[in-house]
């Protein structure tokens, strides 16, 4: 069956179901407002006791989708990209966190931030140059990089400005902290590659540079380079997507996103940082006294409830699972606490195994909604004992113009109709 025929068939089926479902929507599902197909049909030709139409003819043949895509009924689950940006060359797009389960972000929904557009790089013509304070300056092809002993590890990546401190605050979990994703990364430990060149005495930093139109440049402390930094070529089992740095990127688990330089072409071992534009005039955190913090690498512990969350609606009283994600740039999540009463009382959520260092951790709490207004929120505690703060506590120290590293607790307000909205708005 051709793709055209398939599309037509699906469209017709959708239209029929839409017409049939019409009067039966209310109360059909426990939660609505999620982008996937949750509008349940209550009656129709495909419901029991009838035999569904998709059983009465063969489905699409093998090969109709050489690279698989989600169901046509999931078309609304896409990256959250503002339609009113001043320009789209240096811009970001968010992961629809409230639509996802588990801890792994599908590659097509991984958040994006680029500073000079997404380059189209031929891997055969891509090179990594390693020079500076090394015994042997080296140049590597992608084949070379892939010959090194490899490792796979699961880590989150988060943009440092996720979200900013000032209003208007976003409506959904994605609006708020959607510059966050998590993947299984495969590559070679940076230390292995540095050993190949031989670090010289006095090497304290490595300047990493991308092969994009911004030639984005950040300086990485040597301690991180010798610890868990990786040169990554694959993400969730397949080669990196262009938006994620194809064919090669730096991964610095727990460090702010922009330092994980994509399209990596150069590593220069040096005694002091480059003080590049990105690390002086951009990714520095302004304080109320007029000073700014520089080299603010770590993403501190944070969590957010993704269901129920802003933009969704509870359509029935009774049982609901509260679920969300927690993460810390400083290591593992030790616990997540959830409050159902505007932050007065907190109870322990269940953590889904595996709980990995510098990775998203899924948490859950069973809940019985009595139909009354409620404010729900989560707070993460990491293995260092650090407790995720409130927005008020953060603002008291950092003011409203700090822009980066806002890891505040974010409450959701549920009204008597079950509508979920931003509790800070």
């Amino acid at each position: 069956m051709s793709e055209h025929t398939t599309d037509k068939r699906v469209r017709e089926a959708s239209r029929r179901r839409f017409l049939q479902a019409g009067a039966a929507l209310a109360g059909g599902s426990a939660i609505s407002g999620v982008a996937g197909s949750t509008a349940l049909a209550e009656q129709g030709n495909n419901l029991p006791p009838n035999v569904p139409e998709w059983m009465k003819a063969p489905g699409d043949p093998m090969g109709s989708q050489p690279y698989g895509t989600p169901s046509v009924h999931e078309k609304a689950v896409v990256k959250n990209i503002s339609k009113t940006l001043p320009q789209y060359i240096s811009a970001s797009g968010r992961t629809p966190l409230q639509e996802l389960d588990g801890i792994i972000t599908p590659n097509g929904l991984f958040y994006e931030r680029h500073h000079g557009g997404v380059p189209t790089i031929d891997p055969a013509e891509h090179r990594l140059v390693l020079h500076g304070m090394v015994d042997r300056p080296l140049v590597f092809t992608m084949e070379d990089i892939r010959r090194f002993p490899s490792q796979s590890r699961i880590h989150f990546l988060e943009c440092s400005g996720n979200p900013v401190y000032t209003k208007p605050y976003g409506k959904t979990a994605s609006d708020l902290v959607g510059l966050l994703s998590c993947a299984e990364w495969t590559g070679v430990p940076l230390k292995t590659v540095l050993d190949e060149a031989g670090l010289q005495a006095g090497a304290k930093w490595i300047v990493a540079e991308g092969a994009d139109a911004a030639a984005l440049t950040r300086s990485i402390p040597i301690e991180k380079c010798l610890d868990d930094a990786m040169l990554v070529y694959s993400q969730n089992g397949e080669r990196l997507r262009p938006q994620q740095g194809y064919p090669l990127r730096l991964l610095l688990p727990g460090f702010e996103g922009n330092m994980n330089v994509k399209w990596l072409r150069r590593l220069k071992v040096v005694a002091e940082p480059a003080y590049s534009r990105e690390e002086t005039s951009k990714y520095t955190d302004p304080m109320p006294d007029g000073t700014s913090r520089e080299f603010t690498f770590y993403m501190e512990a944070k969590s957010i409830i993704t269901r129920p969350s802003g933009g969704q609606k509870l359509t029935t009283q009774g049982f609901h699972e509260i679920t969300g994600i927690a993460w810390s740039g400083h290591g593992k999540i030790k616990s997540v606490e959830v409050s159902l009463d505007e932050g007065k009382n907190w109870q322990q959520a269940e953590l889904q195994e595996p709980v990995l260092t510098r990775a998203l951790t899924r948490f859950r709490l069973p809940w019985h909604w009595d139909g009354k207004p409620a404010v729900i929120q989560s707070r993460a505690i990491d293995e260092t004992g650090y407790v995720q703060p409130t927005l008020a506590e953060l603002v008291k120290v950092r003011g409203l113009n700090s822009f980066y590293h806002n890891n505040a607790i974010w409450p959701w307000r549920i009204d008597a109709n079950g509508e979920v909205t931003n509790g800070q708005a």
Binding site: G116, V129, L130, H131, A214, L216, P286, E294
Partner: protein
């Protein structure tokens, strides 16, 4: 079970590390030596002290012309008012409720201007300006901010000698700075 597996993985990697340490000179022999010419072509980062700035120079006057042709469409004729970052003014606002961060008010080091303009600007054609013109545009932006006179010509030495007003405005990361009570 997962913990046991992790422990086993850790042991294996620890043994592998010991083995590597025992034969520190045993390299994989992957990659080839980078030639001085290859490195020179890509080694474009400029130190905050001006190290690695190329030979050449550029005048404010030439910079005005290049800026109007290459930069003003996004940054405005006078370095403000366009869709691009504001480049001038804002001095004295950093401690106010509405800080204005520009090259003049915020950037700590003048050589970074050369570095950034050369590597990333103009946004539609980065690395297309000659070094002379990058010096010139840097000089023009600095003159718009009142840091060099209108007849200035900047080279590696004079660009590095400019002291930006916010040079000492940065502090190291004090986090964890906020505690949940």
């Amino acid at each position: 079970m997962a913990r046991l597996k992790l422990k086993a993985a850790f042991l294996v990697s620890a043994i592998a590390m010991l083995a590597t340490a025992g034969q520190a000179e045993d390299r994989f022999g992957i990659g080839r030596e980078a030639t001085p010419a290859e490195i020179a072509g890509w080694n474009i980062d400029i130190g905050r002290d001006g190290s690695n700035l190329p030979p050449g120079n550029g005048s404010v006057e030439r910079g005005r012309t290049v800026f109007s042709e290459q930069c003003a469409a996004c940054h405005g004729d006078s370095g403000q008012g366009g869709v691009g970052d504001r480049l001038v003014g804002g001095q004295g606002t950093l401690a106010s409720p509405k800080p204005i961060r520009t090259v003049g008010s915020y950037w700590p080091y003048a050589p970074t201007l050369f570095d950034y303009i050369r590597r990333a600007m103009p946004q539609n054609a980065p690395q297309s300006l000659s070094n002379q013109d990058v010096y010139a545009v840097s000089a023009y932006i600095l003159s718009l901010n009142g840091f060099v006179p209108a007849n200035a010509v900047l080279d590696a030495k004079s660009l590095a000698a400019i002291k930006m007003p916010n040079r000492d405005g940065f502090v190291s990361d004090p986090r964890p700075d906020v505690h949940n009570h």
